[in-house]
Symmetry: none
Subunit: 222 residues, 4 copies
DNA sequence: GATGAATGAGACTTCATTCAT
DNA sequence: CATGAATGAAGTCTCATTCAT
C-alpha cells in the first residue's frame, strides 16, 4: 500500500526545479525567464513543472524571496556570532560587498526594480527589508549605548540607510567592474565608519526642499 | 516629388516614439516592453515603427542610454554652474536623491541589471559611468587642493564611490518607500560629507581578504 | 494473497467514479469534462481511473447511456404499474416534463448533439430510442383498441413523436426558464392529449415537399 | 496616403473566418472547436485570427447567436409575407421541421445546452427566444380574433410552446434519423393544429404537483 | 510616410495517458 | 489496489517582424 510515496521527494524535486530556475534567472533576468527554459534546465518535460508550482509567477515570487533571504540570512547569522557593535556593522556590511559579482548584483536589482511594478514583489521586499532593519536597528542602538555610534542618529533610519549603502556595493560592481575589490572595500569601510561615528556632520543645514534639477520628471525623456 | 526624407521631421517623430517607449518602459520594465505596446502608446500602426528603428533592441539600447544620460546631463549642468567643490558634491548628489520616486529608481536598476547580461547595455553603462566619474574626479581633486576633501582618497575611486552612493538613494526609495524624504536627504548629506571630510577613518585595518559569509555563491539556493 | 479482484468492490468503485463523472458532466458538458476533474471529484489519484476505464471516451459513452437510460427506466417502470392507456401517456410524459431543470435538459441535449458527431453516441441514442418507442408503441396500439387514441395514427411513428414532444419540455426549460412550471405542464398535457385524440386534424393537406425557407443550408452563415 | 485601407475588407475577412468557424462548429461542437482548427479551415496562420477577434469565446458567442438568428430571421421573413394566421403557424413551423438534418439540429442543441452553463450564451438564447415569441404572440392573438385559435390559450405561453415544439422536430431528426420526412411533417402539422384548435382538451385536470418518478434528481446516476 | 494584414515562432498552461513504486 | 511522477502533444494567445498597398 504505497500511500504517499514521499512528501520529501516532492520537496526535493521542487527545490531542484527552483535551483534550475535560479540559474535561468541569472542568465535572463527575473521576468524574462521562460517556463520552457526552466523545464529544459531542470531536465523535465514542459508542463511537468505544474505539478510543483501553480503558475510561473509563483516561481518568480519564490526566486525573488530567495534572493533577498540570502542577504537576510547572512546578516542574521553574522549577528548571531556576536561582536562589538560597530565592528559587526563594518565587518558584515563590507563582507557583503565582498560577494561583489555582477550576477549577484543584477539579481538584486532585478528584484528591486520588479518591486516597483508588482505588488507581490513589493511585499516581499518590504518584509525582508523590515526584518533586516530590525536586526540592524538593535545593533545601532547598542552602538549608541557603547558610545561607538553617534547618538544623533535615529537608529531605525540609520539601519535602513546602512542596508541601502550595501546596495551601493552591488551598484559599484556593475558600474565599474574593473575596480580593485580590495580598495573598494576600504572605501566602504570608510563610508560606514564615518557615517556612524560620533561627531559626524549632522546635516542640519538643508531643511528647505532641494531643487530637483538633477533627476527630471520620472517618465519623460531627459 | 521630394524623395528626401526631411531629416528634421524624421528625427522629431523618432523622438516622439522614444518618449512613448519610455512611458512603456516605466510601466513594464526595460525588457518587458512590447513593440505593439510602444506603437499603441505612440499612436502609430504596428510596423511603422520599423521606419525609425531597425529592431526592438535598438530602442531598448537608446532607452537605456537615455536613462543614464539623464543623470550625467544633470551632473554636467550642475558642474557648469560652478560652486565651491564640496558643496557641489553634496548639493548635487543629494539633489539627485530628491528625485527619489520608485519609478525613476526602477528604471535605473533595470538598466544596471541588464548590463550584466547584455554587452551592449554594459558598454553604455561603462561609458556613462566613465564620463560622470571623470567629471566628479576633477571636482574631488579640486576639493583636495582646497583642503575640503581628504587627501588620502584616490580621486578616481572616490568619484566612482560617490556615484554608487547616489544609487543608494534610489535603492532606499524602493526598499523603504515610506521613509520621510527630508530625513533621508539629511542622512545622505551626512554620508557624503563624512566620507569626503578630511580625517575620516581611513579604513586601513582590513587588508586580508574578507570572509565571504554574507553573499553565497551567486546562483545557487542559499 | 487473493489475486482475485473482488468483482463487487470493483463494480462499486466503478459506479462511484461514474457518479463523480456525472457531476462533472453537469457542470462542464459531455465533451468538456477532463479526466483530472473527474479524479478530483471522485477523490482518487489521476491515473487510478485507468484501472476502471480504458480511456476517457469509455466514460463519456457510459455517461451518455446513463442519461438516456434515466428516461427509459422511468418510462418502463411507469408502464409496469399499468393504467388506462392514454392516461399512462399523459401522466408519464407530463411527469417527465416535471423534471424540467436546466441541467437535466442540458445533459440530454449534450448527448443528442454528440450523437450527430460520434457514431458510438449515435448508436446509444438509437438503441435507447428504439427501446422507448417499442414500449410506447404497445401503449398507443392499446389506446387505439380502446378507442382513446386516433386510429389514423401509425403507432410506431406516434411513439417516436411522443418521445420528441417530451424533448420539447426540456427545450422550453432552457429557452424560457422563467415560465411557470404548472402552466407549462398544462400546455404539454394539451399538446399530447389533442395530438392523440381521435378526430384530430389529420394533416392530409400537405403532401408536396415543403419549401425550405426557414432553415437554410445547415452549415453556412445565414 | 493609404489611410484606412478598407473597413469593408476587414468585415469581409471577419465573416470569412466566422464561416470557417461555423464549419468547424458543425464538425466538432460548440465548445470543442479549437482555434488552430479554425485557422486551418480559414487558411490563415495561427494567431492571425486575433486581428479579428479578441478571444475564442467571442467567436463562440457570435456562432451561437448566428445559429439562433437563423431561426429568427426565417420566422420574421415568413411573417412578413403575411398569410391567414393559423396557416402561417403551420406553414412555417412545419417548414422549419423541413430543415431536419442532424447537423442543424446538433448545432441548435449545442447552443441550448451551453446556455445552461454560460451566462453569455444564456443571454443570447433568452433574447432570441423573446424576439421569436413576440412575433408569434401577435400571430396567435390574431388567430384567436379570427376564431382559428383556441381563446383559452395564453398567447405568450402558446408562442413559447410553439417554439419548443419546433425543437421537437430537431430532436426527432437526431433520435430517429431514418424516419420518413414527409410523414414526420404530417405529424407535426397535426401536433400544431390540434394544439391550437379551439375546443382542445384544456388540461384542467392536473393541478396537484406531479410525482417526479420519471426524471430523477438531475445530477445523480439513475 | 504610413497602414494594417499576415506570419510563424514561442509564450504559458492543460490534458490524456503511462509507469514505477 | 492505489499513488503521484512524468511525458508530450495540443490548447489559447502574444509578439517581433515583414510586406503589399
Amino acid at each position: 500500500m504505497a500511500r504517499t510515496i514521499d512528501p520529501v521527494r516532492h520537496a526535493a524535486k521542487r527545490l531542484e526545479i527552483l535551483e534550475a530556475a535560479n540559474r535561468c534567472f541569472c542568465r535572463s533576468g527575473l521576468r524574462s525567464i521562460s517556463v520552457s527554459e526552466i523545464c529544459a534546465e531542470a531536465g523535465i518535460g514542459p508542463g511537468h513543472l505544474y505539478h510543483y508550482f501553480d503558475c510561473k509567477d509563483d516561481i518568480i515570487e519564490e526566486l525573488a524571496k530567495s534572493r533577498l533571504d540570502t542577504s537576510r540570512d547572512a546578516l542574521d547569522s553574522a549577528l548571531a556570532r556576536g561582536s562589538p557593535a560597530i565592528e559587526i556593522l563594518v565587518d558584515e556590511v563590507t563582507a557583503l560587498a565582498a560577494g561583489n559579482r555582477a550576477t549577484t548584483a543584477a539579481l538584486l536589482f532585478d528584484v528591486l526594480a520588479d518591486s516597483a511594478r508588482n505588488e507581490s514583489t513589493a511585499r516581499i521586499v518590504r518584509e525582508c527589508h523590515a526584518g533586516m532593519a530590525d536586526s540592524l536597528c538593535a545593533v545601532v542602538r547598542q552602538g549608541q549605548v557603547d558610545g561607538e555610534v553617534d547618538r544623533c542618529l535615529d537608529p531605525r533610519q540609520a539601519a535602513s540607510m546602512l542596508i541601502s549603502l550595501v546596495d551601493s556595493a552591488q551598484s559599484l560592481a556593475l558600474r565599474d567592474p574593473g575596480m580593485d575589490r580590495q580598495q573598494a572595500l576600504q572605501m566602504f569601510d570608510r563610508v560606514i565608519r564615518s557615517f556612524l561615528a560620533p561627531g559626524g556632520s549632522s546635516a542640519t543645514t538643508r531643511q528647505e526642499d532641494l531643487p530637483n534639477h538633477f533627476v527630471p520628471a520620472p517618465c519623460s525623456q531627459g
